[in-house]
Symmetry: D2
Subunit: 339 residues, 4 copies
């Protein structure tokens, strides 16, 4: 069995990585780190692992991480920035689940993440880990920047449309909704059960840090700068993202063109499911899986195209996609441990 290190194993994405790797046929969680819980067993933090994985959490020792075959960094934004270079120096491949290496333009970090990026060379080197787009580059990468949850749910359906030129690159509106686990494991007022249950709200309107990540991907697809409006919302459920995307068809394009494109582009993709009418994506249908479910409707009255996608934010939106990337990087079957 190959060995995986998870640096920052006690957040929800860390937990999900442990959970997925425990069922993986070729890779095992082997070295788990945590600053806050060092000395405890992962099963003390997450009793679901009792009897299945009782590794002791340790403060990060780069050498020990380097003794594994793959390293996952599941650290907060801003922290990965300093840790990942040390992990790479250990000579092992790294999948980073933070936002710290996703944006190619370092100038965007102060604006959207609130810090100056200090590793511009790694920004250049890192490969954006959306396998359905970058499979070959991922295979050769030393550092994969695992996509954000919202950006995954948006780019999988929209990149093909923009690449094929079926939709306008202007005036794209994304209305996205996420379960609460997307906000992480640290308790805060807004995620306290009595504040959060029986409630629905938008947040970070016009200012969410996933906006430039989505624009970067869509711009590359469109071959021109895409500026879009992205509004995230908080849903009183644990897992899942549903994104509702509003676009304009290019003149002459109709629903059949869209269906044909998706069928062609995603024919061989094991994790993309295009739903036929009358079905629409629901988060429960992808919960706990690495699938991205897609559907669309053309609104004859307004000429708008509505595209809807659903993913599990912790799986295809984080840990599952990270394992998919690992599979590619280690030349394992891409679906290993995921279906």
């Amino acid at each position: 069995m190959l060995k995986a290190a998870i640096v920052g194993a006690t957040g929800y994405t860390g937990r999900e990585l442990v959970s997925i790797l425990l069922c993986h046929p070729k890779v095992r969680p082997f070295y788990l780190t945590s600053d806050s819980f060092a000395g405890k067993s992962i099963a003390e933090i997450y009793p679901q692992f009792r009897g299945r994985c009782e590794l002791t959490l340790e403060k990060l020792d780069v050498e020990k991480a380097g003794a594994c075959d793959i390293i996952f960094a599941a650290l907060p934004h801003g922290t990965s920035l300093d840790v990942v270079p040390r992990l790479l120096a250990a000579g092992k491949k790294v999948v980073d689940l933070s936002g710290d290496f996703r944006l190619k333009d370092a100038a965007l970090y102060p604006l959207w993440y609130g810090y100056e990026h200090r590793q511009p060379a790694l920004l250049t080197e890192s490969v954006y880990g959306l396998p359905e787009q970058n499979r070959d580059a991922i295979r050769k990468a030393r550092l994969v920047a695992n996509p954000g949850c919202y950006p995954t749910s948006v780019q999988l359906p929209l990149i093909p449309l923009l690449q094929a030129g079926l939709v306008e690159a202007e005036d794209i509106i994304i209305d996205a909704k996420s379960g609460v686990s997307g906000a992480g494991r640290t308790p805060k007022q807004a995620y306290h059960f009595p504040e959060c249950a029986e409630n629905f709200k938008a947040y970070k309107v016009t200012g969410h840090q996933h906006t430039p990540e989505i624009e970067q991907g869509l711009s590359a697809a469109a071959g021109r700068q895409v500026t879009l409006l992205f509004t995230p919302h908080l849903v009183p459920m644990i897992r899942g993202i549903l994104s509702t995307m509003y676009l304009r068809l290019k003149p002459g394009v109709d629903a059949e063109d869209i269906t044909a494109l998706y069928r062609k582009v995603y024919a061989g993709e094991p994790f993309i499911r295009l739903l036929p009418e009358p079905y629409l994506p629901e988060t429960k249908d992808v919960s706990g899986t690495n699938f991205c479910d897609l559907a669309f409707r053309v609104d004859g009255r307004t000429g708008r195209l509505v595209v809807i996608s659903a993913i599990d934010n912790l799986v295809k939106g984080a840990a599952g996609q990270a394992v998919q990337n690992m599979n590619i990087m280690l030349n394992l079957p891409e679906t290993a441990g995921l279906i």
Copy 2:
């Protein structure tokens, strides 16, 4: 005390009417009808009313309804159509909570509601019961068509913008999210707890029957035909609607103009609350109340205006607004029983 009849008292809007009227200083629930539960007490259907209201449900007897001072019709779409004319014939004022008398253009009913409208004269006569717009007409009305839940959440924020010409009438996108009580009390697979909890989805994409109702209101405000895209979603919570609306500012209009307009238009309105930055509407803040909370953001990057509103779908979106209309029709203080 004045007497109210509620025709169709066992649905969620009927229950909410009973609940509100039990606290009303001048009006009491007096005559409750139900086809399915005739002979039972309302407290058997809704044990919350035990000891507070134990009226026996009866099959509709128009004469008895006519002996009340006001009649609420809380019947399914398509059923009100035939019942309301009989109620009016009894000589009493009627607030109808169905969609059957909301659209002025009878030709829209076959398209959106799936039936031919057989009461065109009443379509002409009925007054659309949005008090913040139609207070004077409501005062004199014999038949008030109480607005739909989604249309209330959309028209309250958008009508002033269109009336004042601050936004374009084209290219309006509404992404709305509702709690499950909006689907009514009858159990169905999609609203079965295990299907509905921990799930989020869109439904009736491009085809929801509230679309023409919203367009009718916004067209009147804009002074021209408005065609928009409306997408409803189902949130795993009991009550509440949050609508996220995407518009374009007219050239030269800025955030201060919007704030100034809302302050002017809604200055004296007891149920409209404009939230200052950094606050955004949340459904829990209006739950159980007749308030509509509003906020907006101008997105400098795309030139879009994002407007967000929150209401309780069963109160300002149904029974609360119906009582507000009743108060106006009966010359009672408009907020009686509601604050």
Copy 3:
């Protein structure tokens, strides 16, 4: 209008007090204190109050509190202990919602609350605020110790049974279940939405601090020391307590005796509802109200009596009962503001 001070207004019981008093016909929230949020408006902490109550929170000034007609102390256990004597010194009546003045035996505090009680005279003086038992004493009290949420749900059904000697005082088992608001407003890991939703658990098994409070009430009723087993559980819902209580009937006692007793004892009680067969209490039927719903079943097979009660933990279990006590103390109608 009479004026109420709420010391510690930003917890959930403080919020509920504000909410109830805003609808009270004779008393208004007038002076609100908070250590952590002094200087902010209560409507900033709870936006539901926007436009309805925008009092500024202040650090406690005993003189200002003393200028009100009634003072509610809604402070954490251990804090009230020192604040309440100062409030009493201001010469006004106080309803204390903490556990600090509920137990007559000061020796129980170190064991169950973890602190030495420093106000034994006030323990003696304070009146336990269960109006259905102590109405007359409450009327004359200077300090009312408002009962705990679980103890309310247990004592209302069990005290009459023990007073009348229909059940054995030994071997009483109480299995209670509470919504998450019972844990207060401060965010903690266990009440973080993703940990709490889709989860059910017991907590503080054999060690919950409400145990001696329940035993004190039942012992007085039984005329002998009652020692019982109390197990609280956490339900993934915001509000509500359901207590399932297991007792033994005394020889010769049957279901009719129990019904007859409850009917007699609770005949005139506005907030106690005995449900006839086949109905059973559900928390949703008392949500937002000051009711306590009761039902029981005699199990012929084991000779056990099962009693079930439901209350809203924040209303009859806290703020509603506090207002009921206030009404009695101020010679207002006992149900004012509560039905």
Copy 4:
């Protein structure tokens, strides 16, 4: 790969069987039947299976079922009674998930299930499928009666205590709480989301049909007739059962004896986890797994023993245990597909 038939595949236990078997290393779902949905794909009923399992549902053809290596009957109580004999006649081993073959005493069926049992010989022959107790008999069985969800959660912790004589067989009280999926997939008023969310209640107090099943198992363990009190409750969550059990220790027995017993009895059991202090079972820790988590507390004050267990009602409480039984019956590793 071995082939499994699932008769009645569209209920929640049927769905869970499909889900588990899709990840099983040796057995595949092969033949799925449904009366109501014959002709549709299982993926139309449960879109989560799209791309993973698109078997067409058929009306039951006993010959086709008999062509599989194992047959699961996941039918409603009362229906299995007639179908299982036909399946057995096809010469294949059957795991029946209904209650129709669990009780050895046919006379209990009219009392608790409301029908006369017409297959007394099969009642005698069937093996009760609790592997931790009956592994050898299951191995040789033609018909395994898979235990009920509540009985599994109760018998796993209590049988060893009674077998070892550490607790009294009298006066056992079980207070159990289940998620809503336990009520099945058919929509009913009580499980309609707006009735069920934010609500907690007891149901079938003193009359639940799992009572005699639990008593049968505990009586065998105690070597004498056990009569107990069982009270089920409904929790607003999808999955999970937590049972809180109240017993009396035999004189001289202490907590260490209990721990020692559980350690000995359950040492080699892959699905039983005894939690050390201070941990207590929570349903989320076993969600989606075949584990049963156990803990207990001795209450020195009352001399009572409190035992708490948690299972996933659809897994260890139904489909997971059925697959565990299948593994034993087919001489596969007992944990195959389950860990």
